[in-house]
């Protein structure tokens, strides 16, 4: 729900993995440092220091490319065992201020402090306190954005990076967005950006000035959302993970209608993994698996399957989802797909009948993966089938429109907006 006062905070640790490495390697401060999952040619950059970004190195870039751009950088391999305690500490600090904390990865989260202001002061004061505690208790810096909703707070914290706090007063969302480049708007990916560029659109304000009808004509329902978001309008609430959900789902809208069966199945597989992780996190399993498909322009269908026993493992969710998908897709002439979603419903207590010969290893593996994802973000553990297809990045949870790379800070934005508070 939109608030009349800014009470939604987005907190994001600055270049988290790199900052953690600098804590134990202070001699590397000021140098380009790149932390990657695997240092071979197939490794991918997880995080890079702001010095490395000057050379054009970005998160999610292949290590081989980073080496060409910045051969002099120090390359380190990700060490989750070193980052995990800090991540836990970070989330614990946040929960000191409100139970309404929605983690968005190992190093970022949304908080709604509307109910805490009597205790701890207004949202900007709480954001400042959190940033101070992160610095004192973990030894690294965090940026924060404060506004009336998650969308604006997210853009604001990015705008404040590194080590900044940006407060957007209620009613000034559109004005805050107007001068910013379109790529800072979370739902604008490379393809949308390219299309917008051909229309001469450079800033978020340019989008806001377009007649919504023109955007709808160009991008369909995506266009209507784009028009609203360019004005800073966004009403998904901060969801603390503890409310017992009635169902869990993930869906994804493709930038271009997707014709490839392999790609669609890979996306479904990724969604199954993440739905399974959510179920594990909530201690639930599902009797019913649902599939959602949308064909352009707005032909949406849902299919569901209810099994004899409940399912909770990614493989089983995927198998059920893939069966539904194959049948529904076949019925619709295997047309390109605009949106694909997988859900679990009819949730019940998580339990699985083990089979003779089982050792419980499958369950322990699934729980370990879910645990890693909960701590380090969804991209920390992926199926090989998903790699190279940017599935994790594009895979948008139903409630979370921000497909930001993780740990997310694409560019070092200018810090000249008047809303920047001294830190």
């Amino acid at each position: 729900m939109p608030h009349s006062r800014p009470s939604v905070i987005h907190v994001d640790l600055d270049a988290f993995f790199v900052s953690m490495e600098l804590l134990r390697h202070p001699e590397l401060r000021g140098q380009p440092v790149i932390v990657a999952g695997g240092l071979g040619n197939r490794g991918v950059v997880s995080t890079c220091s702001y010095e490395a970004r000057k050379f054009g190195v970005r998160s999610a870039m292949p290590v081989s490319q980073a080496r060409r751009l910045c051969p002099a950088a120090v390359y380190l391999e990700t060490d989750f065992s070193w980052y995990a305690p800090a991540s836990r500490k970070f989330h614990a600090i946040l929960r000191d201020y409100t139970p309404v904390v929605e983690p968005a990865g190992a190093d970022e989260a949304y908080l709604d402090v509307a109910g805490s202001e009597r205790l701890f002061g207004d949202a900007p004061a709480i954001a400042a306190a959190i940033r101070q505690r992160v610095r004192d208790e973990i030894g690294i810096t965090a940026s924060a954005g404060v506004s009336i909703n998650k969308l604006v707070s997210k853009v604001a914290s990015d705008a404040g990076k590194p080590d900044g706090l940006v407060v957007v007063p209620a009613g000034e969302e559109a004005a805050f967005f107007a001068p910013r480049p379109i790529r800072e708007l979370p739902m604008v990916g490379p393809k949308t950006a390219a299309t917008l560029a051909t229309l001469g659109i450079k800033t978020i304000g340019d989008i806001a000035r377009m007649p919504p009808a023109a955007l709808v004509a160009r991008f369909g329902s995506h266009g209507a959302e784009l028009a609203a978001r360019a004005r800073g309008v966004f009403d998904a609430p901060v969801l603390s993970g503890h409310a017992a959900a009635k169902s869990v789902s993930r869906e994804m809208t493709f930038d271009a209608d997707e014709p490839s069966r392999d790609r669609l199945r890979a996306v479904l597989r990724g969604q199954a993994e993440r739905v399974a992780a959510d179920l594990a996190h909530q201690g639930r399993s599902a009797r019913t698996v649902t599939l959602k498909l949308r064909f352009p322009p707005f032909e949406t269908l849902t299919r569901s399957w209810t099994g004899p026993t409940s399912v909770d493992l990614a493989d089983d969710l995927f198998e059920a989802g893939a069966n539904l998908f194959e049948r529904a897709w076949e019925e619709h002439g295997r047309r390109p797909v605009r949106l694909l979603g997988l859900g679990a419903a009819n949730l019940q207590e998580r339990a699985r009948q083990l089979r003779l010969g089982d050792t419980g290893d499958t369950d322990r593996l699934a729980e370990a993966v879910a645990d890693l994802r909960a701590r380090f973000g969804e991209a920390s553990v992926q199926r090989a089938a998903e790699l190279g297809q940017h599935v994790a990045r594009a895979d948008v949870p139903a409630f979370r429109p921000f497909a930001a790379p993780e740990p997310a800070d694409d560019d070092v934005p200018e810090r000249t907006t008047p809303q920047v508070r001294a830190t």
């Binding site: 201690g283 399993s285 207590e349 339990a351 699985r352 009948q353 003779l356 050792t359 369950d363």
Partner: protein, 379 residues
């Protein structure tokens, strides 16, 4: 054919063979029962092609012959007749069976006995003589653990194997395993290792009932069929071909915790917990709590999200560490229903096998073990 038979004998015979009548078949004659004269008696037989049951009843044979009539019809009809002599007659070249009993007369359309599937009986092959009580007990301890779906046909059967004078029956449906032994008076003359359909054994147990006559089990030389001979009745079943999984490795030799409890109490608390479990995933949680000098206890609990919860406690002798394990309520009830007296539950961890064994007196054979896989739950 002309035969006179007592109504109660005919009724009993029809109800015995009626168990093998096909309920859904593409071959209409298998819904019929075969009536034929055989060495001075009346033979009744039925088959669904997997199992056939034949039984012989005493009768006064005036003229030999054979025919088939719809099983359901003649069964309902005969059971309604008064207890008197029933006369069955098919006139020469007739197509109808004429039945007379007291002042009731009826006729039933027949189908030709020549078209009835041939029921094999065989007297060659290896033969085993089984104690009826031991056989029935063993069947009741294993048949329920066989698979009820056909996805792996061998698992719908019971593995029967002789090792010396010990005959071992085993069944497993993927989630549980039941193994029970019978001691034979002598080792069989030839190796015995076959898979008998669980359904056939259920019928054998029913035929045995309270009888004290030894049961003969015979395998044909091709090892494609098994014949059980119980009094005046024979049951022939097609054996299931295939390899039964090697189950011995699934019975753990060691345990960390062992609880010894009364079957009656355990059964009662499980039945109560199952009422609460049935709206959820059927989970019954067990906690094994050592007494440290005092008697230990076993708690049996269940909960259902929108209903409530239940917690029962019984005395138990606990050896080893405190422990917990969750089972599907049906599997737990099934094994407890097959037991009496006292039972031991042995376990190693919440995600490995629960092993149930009856407590037997010193010197008695340890002839039963039942393994149930637990449910992986969040405690």
């Amino acid at each position: 054919m002309k035969v006179q038979v007592l109504q109660e004998n005919l009724q009993r015979g029809l109800s015995i063979v009626g168990r093998a009548v096909a309920t859904r078949s593409t071959l209409p004659i298998t819904a019929n029962v075969l009536l034929m004269t055989d060495k001075g008696r009346l033979k009744l037989a039925a088959t669904d092609l997997d199992i056939s049951i034949s039984t012989w009843v005493g009768a006064k044979i005036d003229e030999d012959g054979a025919t088939t009539v719809p099983s359901r019809l003649i069964g309902d009809f005969v059971s309604s007749l008064p207890p008197a002599t029933v006369s069955l007659e098919i006139p020469e070249r007739g197509r109808q069976l004429k039945l007379e009993c007291a002042r009731n007369e009826s006729s039933i359309h027949t189908m030709d006995a020549e078209d009835f599937p041939r029921i094999h009986s065989f007297s060659e092959g290896v033969s085993l003589i089984l104690d009826p009580k031991a056989l029935r007990k063993t069947i009741e301890r294993v048949e329920f653990a066989a698979a009820s779906d056909d996805s792996r046909p061998v698992l719908t059967g019971v593995h029967v194997k002789a090792d010396g004078a010990r005959l071992t029956f085993a069944s497993a449906d993927g989630f549980r395993l039941a193994v029970s032994d019978i001691t034979l008076p002598a080792a069989p003359s030839d190796a015995v290792e076959v898979i008998v359909p669980a359904r056939a054994l259920r019928e054998v147990a029913r035929l045995v009932g309270e009888s004290s006559e030894p049961v003969e089990m015979r395998l044909n030389p091709q090892r494609t069929q098994v014949l059980f001979s119980v009094g005046d009745t024979e049951l022939v079943a097609q054996l299931i071909q295939g390899t039964f999984p090697n189950y011995n490795q699934l019975i753990p030799a060691d345990y960390n915790t062992k609880a010894t409890v009364s079957v009656e109490e355990f059964k009662r608390e499980t039945r109560i917990a199952a009422i609460f479990a049935r709206d959820g995933s059927g989970i019954v949680r067990l906690q094994l709590v050592p007494g440290n000098g005092m008697p230990g206890k076993l708690t049996i609990s269940a909960r259902a999200d929108e209903i409530g919860d239940n917690n029962g406690e019984i005395d138990a002798k606990i050896e080893g560490d405190a422990s917990k394990i969750a089972f599907n309520s049906r599997y737990l009830q099934d094994v407890l229903n097959a037991l009496s007296g006292e039972v031991e539950l042995q376990m190693t961890s919440p995600s490995s096998q629960g092993v149930f064994r009856p407590v037997v007196a010193e010197g008695e054979p340890k002839d039963y073990v039942h393994v149930v896989m637990p449910m992986f739950v969040q405690w």
